[in-house]
């Protein structure tokens, strides 16, 4: 069911522009959270001002795992959201 169905072409374009802006903002948020998260989880040794090998490795793994998690949950979300929408449609 398309929620943009009531909109004209021009309105849809406007909506698309706004959504793109929103997506950029969301990506910046994602990035920020990733830094905060991985830094907090991995870096705790301040005897040096350079990241140690261990910390570097941890950060790499943290980023990889976080992105994989994000992807997987996005897939699940889309499925579940679709199912929930269908259920609501059927109830009406």
């Amino acid at each position: 069911m398309d929620i943009t169905a009531g909109l004209t072409q021009a309105e849809q374009r406007e909506l698309e522009q706004r959504l793109n802006k929103r997506q950029v903002k969301e990506f910046m948020n994602l990035f920020g959270n990733l830094v905060d998260n991985c830094f907090t989880a991995c870096v705790d040794d301040f005897t040096s001002k350079a990241l140690s090998g261990r910390e570097n490795g941890c950060i790499s793994r943290c980023v990889l795992k976080s992105m994989t998690t994000q992807t997987r949950l996005s897939e699940r979300f889309a499925e579940l959201n679709q199912a929930m929408t269908n259920e609501l449609q059927n109830k009406k």
């Binding site: 069911m1 929620i3 943009t4 009531g6 909109l7 004209t8 021009a10 309105e11 406007e14 909506l15 706004r18 959504l19 929103r22 969301e26 948020n29 991985c38 989880a41 991995c42 941890c58 790499s60 793994r61 943290c62 990889l64 795992k65 976080s66 994989t68 998690t69 994000q70 997987r72 949950l73 996005s74 699940r76 979300f77 579940l80 959201n81 199912a83 929930m84 609501l88």
Partner: protein
């Protein structure tokens, strides 16, 4: 879908766009919250590996399913309770 009752007059262009945008925003926020909470509940914070373990993957799947179920349940219950109190309620989230 819902235009939140604009009344007798036609909604303006801006109102229509804002309404759809809002709906998508609500969904996007739910997505963000779900990712945050399920990561917290399922992901090992020591990051010993870059790959998701089988256990973590299964945990994420189940967590997201339960999250949606909890969302629906709470939505229903909240509606019932506010209706019982004689209020209007949100009319379907």
């Amino acid at each position: 879908m819902s235009l939140f009752g604009f009344g007798a007059r036609q909604p303006t262009s801006a109102e229509k766009i804002a309404s759809v945008e809002n709906e998508l925003k609500v969904i996007a926020e739910m997505h963000t919250r779900m990712v945050k909470i399920c990561s917290l509940k399922c992901i090992d914070k020591t990051y010993r590996e870059g790959e998701l373990s089988k256990g973590e993957a299964v945990c994420l799947d189940r967590c997201s399913a339960k999250f949606f179920e909890a969302h629906s349940k709470i939505s229903d219950q909240l509606q019932q309770q506010t209706a019982a109190q004689g209020g209007g309620g949100f009319g379907g989230m």
